[in-house]
């Protein structure tokens, strides 16, 4: 092993003329106002991968530096990034670096999180979640786009969130079932999750191999929190209306202990969208003990229980009639109160233990064990042999009555526009139907309408070890191993029988089609025709088991003008389904109950790149990577709720990616220009929806999906004067499908294969629901008298609507000649109009004795543009009889209109 390493060294050193003077740079970073030391400050040599972090005393030390000119950045969330130019010739201790608080540290930068739910979306494999792009603020592009682009659902390079890896204190927090990054797990804990380190794209990191879309590490250890107390209150009209938050950190005390506690509550009786109530609490406790210079142990625990009424999506017809683009079909009046049928509750208590071990000045090892158990619950209406209770169901809209007497149609339009008994959920009707549903044999009420609660209870244990090793000055090796065991139990429970006494646990679609074979309709064949009551599990019940292990390593090698890196990654993944109910459609063996076969995947990734340091102020880097990734559990089973069958041809997807970046750093201009190209191969997608032709629910799985994402990014921050700064960013990309995927269509009822290898003609279709073109320009005035004002304008274009693949098949077009307008209507992808948004913010801070007070007010979408469609999806359902989809038009998401965020904070 040692010989191998020596060989590697010789290989790397060949041709190297540079002689490394092993210079050490050290110093202390303090708060400009208070003079207190600042822990957790990132000290970065610009244009290199060399960096360090200040300890609890604000002290940092970087060893093994080479001679020469360099620019050093001092970065800390809430503080203005400060740079220093140094000409190193010998060991140097810098004078104390004083960081000034950035004036818009709170509020102005609080991103809004919008989560939209609907039955269609859930089955289409994803709820549309918009979260802020929390990226490193020291990058000119990401700092410009982070907050201004998020209302438009902008995704950097068009990548889904599961390509960006997110870590908290070393624990990966992407959901193993779906891959989604779960920002909401620590919602409301902004104070203690501010220390973030992000890497864009393929750039290597110290703590992981990284994802395609980069990696973010949140360091919430107690020693990394600034000593002091913070209390703040915010008023807003977004998803919540009020927020209170407090945080206290001791900093590293003389006994070597640091303690941080934080808590918050965010709530709204009604948010921006009608019928969306919100109640979120959060707590955080972190304690860290530094035993000596070599060992410290940190324990962190937090949870953010959140409950809220969800926003729904609807068609333009319904929205126009109601006269509200934020029309929410999810609620209705119950005894005069707005009741939302779709209530989300989630929480995930998390416990993390870190052991930081400085083995030697050149070797640092971090061991982490994390455990979390969470629940994620969403209520929904369900009904049996009764009218569809959704107010915007297509048969309730005037367009369905197009062949009626025009007066009647107008009357229906009028009533839908004005009467909440019809344009919102009619709870009263459902209760009365249930009261009227007497089962005379038992003298009990069989509920026709219920509220059910779809639940995922998860447990995850993770372990990781990360080592950072500097064997020789020129070489930095990072590596680690990690493993995770996950189990998620997915089931549903009766939440509310709406006045009835029981619900019969059978599948009504199967019952209708196979009336004379009652066993088929049983959801739980071992307990047939079960009468379920409030709190009982019914419908489906299975465990998703996902285990994986990973080893990775990257090596960074520095020359005078060039840095190289190379990295490798291997991941083993296995998952299986454990059915806890024997389904009547799949009664045999372990087709539905018991363990499915284990799906096993071996995945690897390689990446490499080089940075050419043209000078300390210009550098050019290029990165290349190839990786494979196992499919996620959620996309792998034909019908995970009912059976153990995986989709045919399940395999890892492959991703090849390259980018090239030019960075400019002068005292007045910070800029980055990038070009990238990424190809995804062999992706898999699953949708399930009601099919008009088969008159039943079908599962639609596509495989062999290839996509290409390519484009350019530009970002610049220009200091026009000491008080005036301009920001500009442009992202112009093309994200397209580049293959004709093969679809397998199965009937959910019986698992019967209706179509196999159906060709889906979507080559050159665009990836939906993110602007492929976006630009922003902002100006900011920061007065020396501690107030600031900023305006930002942004532009979004090339937003496409998620298409329904079933309409792009030969089967859907039978009888429609080339040139038939219906053909185009059925097959063309919808592009949404471009839009401009204007944001503004203003703030001031005061210092009164030892108290700091800051007041910030920001307004998003100042011009109240309420017709900005940020995305949408076609309904998969279409009427085969007339081969149009007019009855089932697309549903759209709209960006919020004018909203504000006002924060008042105290710090002492």
């Amino acid at each position: 092993m040692k010989r191998l390493f020596n060989l590697l060294l010789v290989f790397l050193l060949t041709g190297t003329s540079s002689i490394f003077a092993q210079i050490t740079l050290k110093g202390t970073v303090k708060d400009f106002d208070s003079g207190k030391p600042l822990p957790g400050v990132k000290v970065q040599i610009v244009g290199s991968i060399i960096e360090s972090t200040t300890d609890a005393n604000g002290y940092f030390e970087i060893n093994n530096l080479e001679q020469g000119n360099m620019v050093i950045d001092f970065v800390l969330e809430d503080y203005q990034t400060t740079e220093q130019e140094v000409n190193l010739t010998e060991d140097t201790t810098l004078p104390d670096i004083m960081l000034k608080r950035s004036q818009d540290s709170e509020g102005a930068l609080t991103f809004s999180e919008i989560t939209i739910s609907s039955d269609d979306l859930e089955s289409a494999g994803g709820e549309q979640s918009i979260t802020g792009l929390l990226q490193s603020s020291q990058d000119a592009f990401t700092s410009a786009v982070s907050y201004t682009f998020s209302p438009a659902r902008f995704q950097i390079r068009g990548y889904d969130s599961d390509y960006s890896l997110l870590y908290l204190n070393g624990v990966p927090v992407n959901d193993p079932e779906s891959g989604w990054a779960s920002w909401s797990s620590w919602g409301g804990l902004n104070d203690v999750t501010r220390n973030k380190e992000s890497r864009n794209g393929l750039t290597p990191t110290d703590w992981s191999f990284g994802g395609l879309g980069g990696a973010t590490q949140i360091d919430a250890r107690a020693s990394q929190q600034r000593a002091g107390t913070k209390i703040s209150y915010a008023s807003t009209n977004r998803t919540y209306t009020n927020r209170v938050m407090f945080t206290h950190s001791t900093g590293m005390m003389e006994n070597g202990v640091a303690l941080t506690i934080s808590g918050s509550r965010r709530w709204a009786e009604e948010g921006y969208v009608k019928g969306t109530n919100y109640d979120a609490w959060a707590y955080f406790v972190g304690i860290e003990k530094k035993f000596n210079d070599k060992h410290s142990v940190a324990f962190t625990t937090f949870n953010a229980p959140t409950k809220r009424g969800m926003q729904g999506v609807s068609t333009d017809e319904a929205k126009n009639l109601v006269g509200d683009n934020y029309y929410n079909p999810n609620w209705g009046y119950q005894n005069g109160e707005k009741r939302n049928a779709r209530v989300r509750f989630q929480q995930e208590p998390t416990f993390i233990l870190n052991h930081n071990w400085n083995v030697s000045p050149n070797l640092k090892v971090t061991n982490t064990v994390g455990f979390s158990f969470g629940t994620y619950q969403t209520t929904s209406l369900n009904w049996y042999d009764a009218q569809d209770p959704r107010p915007d169901y297509y048969r309730k809209l005037p367009s369905y009555w197009i062949d009626s007497d025009p007066d009647v149609m107008n009357f229906i339009a009028d009533i839908f526009s004005n009467n909440t008994d019809y344009n919102q959920i009619n709870w009263d009707y459902m209760y009365q139907v249930n009261y009227n549903s007497l089962d005379t044999a038992t003298n009990t009420l069989r509920s026709k309408y219920i509220v059910e609660n779809r639940i995922t209870d998860s447990r995850q244990l993770t372990y990781s070890t990360v080592g950072n090793w500097n064997p020789i000055p020129e070489l930095k090796v990072n590596g680690g191993i990690n493993a995770s065991i996950y189990k998620g139990r997915n089931y549903k429970k009766i939440d509310d029988l709406l006045g009835g006494d029981y619900w019969l646990d059978i599948d009504q679609f199967v019952e209708r089609d196979y009336y004379n074979n009652p066993n088929l309709a049983q959801n739980d064949l071992d307990n047939p025709n079960r009468k379920v009551k409030k709190g009982d599990v019914f419908g489906y019940d299975y465990d998703a088991n996902v285990d994986n292990g990973n080893v990775w390593a990257t090596g960074n090698y520095s020359l005078d003008n060039f840095d190289y890196y190379f990295g490798g990654n291997y991941t083993y993944t296995e998952f299986w389904r454990t059915g806890n109910m024997r389904n009547g459609r799949f009664p045999d063996g372990n087709d539905s109950k018991g363990n499915s076969a284990k799906q096993k995947f071996n995945d690897y990734g390689v990446k490499g790149g080089a940075t050419w340091k043209i000078s300390g102020r210009h550098y050019l880097d290029a990165n290349l990577s190839y990786m494979t990734r196992a499919p996620f559990f959620r996309n792998s089973y034909i019908s995970p709720r009912t059976s153990n069958f995986v989709i045919p041809g399940l395999s890892s997807e492959k991703i090849a990616s390259a980018d090239i970046n030019y960075n400019l750093r002068t005292p007045y201009i910070k800029a980055r220009f990038s070009a990238y190209y990424t190809k995804f191969m062999d992706q898999t997608e699953l949708q399930s929806f009601y099919d008009d032709y088969y008159r039943t629910f079908i599962n639609y799985t596509m495989r062999n999906i290839d996509k290409v994402h390519k484009g350019i990014e530009f970002g610049a921050e220009i200091k026009i004067s000491p008080t005036l700064t301009a920001n500009a960013a442009v992202a112009a990309g093309t994200y397209q499908y580049k293959s004709r995927p093969l679809a397998t269509v199965t009937q959910d009822n019986l698992g019967t294969i209706l179509q196999s290898d159906q060709v889906v003609y979507i080559k050159n279709f665009y990836v939906a629901n993110t602007p492929q073109t976006a630009a922003t320009l902002g100006l900011r005035y920061a007065s020396p008298k501690y107030w600031f004002f900023g305006v930002t304008a942004s532009y979004f274009d090339d937003i496409y609507v998620e298409f329904a693949p079933g309409k792009r098949t030969a089967e859907a077009l039978v009888g429609l000649e080339e040139g038939d307008p219906y053909r185009e209507k059925l097959t063309d992808q919808i592009k949404l109009p471009s839009a401009c948004l204007l944001d503004a913010n203003i703030g001031k801070s005061w210092k009164i004795k030892d108290y700091y007070i800051n007041l910030n007010f920001s307004v998003s979408n100042v011009l109240d543009k309420t017709d900005f469609k940020t995305g949408g999806y076609e309904q998969a359902r279409y009427s085969i009889a007339d081969q149009t989809s007019d009855k089932f038009p697309p549903k759209y998401f709209y960006a919020y209109g004018r909203t504000y965020y006002l924060t008042l904070g105290f710090r002492f």
Binding site: I261, Q387, D403, S404, V408, W427, S437, G499
Partner: protein, 288 residues
């Protein structure tokens, strides 16, 4: 010790903050109480009178339809039941004078209107139409240029025209039929035939006993009914392919049968609501 002071210094003001907040955002709702819908509208027209207003084609019911009346209001008792799927978007009601099919463009009507429920129909604005000799009450729709009778368009319109009256459920007693009573004025009424059986029970093609309808292809089937006491011509038992009992083999015995009497182009059709209406408990009789 300093640590605890620190914590206290934070927690105390923080607790005040939290206490000042509204105690909770309400996610709990009181159940809605059972309620009896009962209209105060009273009939001013009998069902037989209403049917007599039909002229031809489509007859719109307006306030001038009957002299000196502002409105046409009928009252009847629900006799149909779509729970088992043999009725589709239609409600049959009857009073002492006759029965009529009220077409509603809504499914699962049994959730709203149980058998025996008294309902009042406010007829102004509705239409009468003739479907193969049966008078129907409903709305109209444009079927490729031709206006035809159709169901009242969903809840917003149904709630303007059809009202429940009272909560007492009293099921109608069927009229026991004789060949003489098998006439147009009893169309749309609940009737009972005694000593009946289904004439042909075996399929000449498969050699198996017939089912009530074709549940595989969802096709409606007529089975000829015969009696050993009286002679009925052109009387069939009609069952929808969508009925839940469509795939059930027919009863080969004889006895009484109850159903709604309908009529289409010379044939009287009996529609049962479920198989409890087929009370064939006697041995099969010899065909006359």
């Amino acid at each position: 010790m300093k640590m605890f002071k620190n914590i206290l210094a934070t927690i105390i003001p923080a607790s005040f903050l939290f206490l000042a907040m509204p105690s909770c955002v309400d996610f709990n709702y009181d159940a809605i109480k059972p309620r009896v819908d009962s209209t105060t509208l009273a009939a001013n027209t009998t069902i037989a009178e209403l049917k007599s207003l039909y002229v031809d084609g489509l007859t719109k019911l307006t306030d001038t339809s009957i002299n000196m009346r502002d409105s046409i209001i009928i009252e009847g008792t629900v006799i149909s039941d779509d729970k088992e799927g043999n009725f589709y978007k239609s409600l049959f009601i009857e009073d002492e004078t006759g029965g009529i099919e009220v077409k509603l463009n809504k499914t699962t009507l049994y959730n709203d209107y149980k058998r025996g429920q008294k309902v009042v129909v406010y007829c102004n604005g509705l239409y009468l139409g003739d479907y193969g000799g049966s008078i129907q009450l409903g709305s109209i729709y444009n079927n490729n240029g031709a206006w035809e009778i159709s169901g009242i368009e969903g809840d917003p319109l149904i709630n303007l025209h059809v009202f429940k009256k009272g909560e007492t459920i009293i099921e109608c007693t069927p009229i026991t039929m004789t060949p003489a009573l098998l006439s147009t004025q009893n169309i749309g009424r609940l009737v009972k035939f005694d000593n009946m059986q289904i004439k042909d029970t075996l399929s000449p093609i498969t050699g198996e006993t017939y089912t009530y309808a074709d549940d595989v292809n969802k096709v409606t089937i007529n089975h000829v009914l015969e009696s050993n006491m009286a002679t009925y011509t052109d009387l069939v038992l009609r069952t929808s392919g969508y009925a839940k009992f469509a795939g059930t083999t027919i009863s080969t015995k004889s006895g009484s049968i109850v159903g709604i009497l309908t009529y289409y182009n010379g044939t009287f059709q009996l529609l049962v609501r479920d198989l409890n209406d087929v009370m064939f408990d006697q041995p099969r009789f010899q065909q006359k």
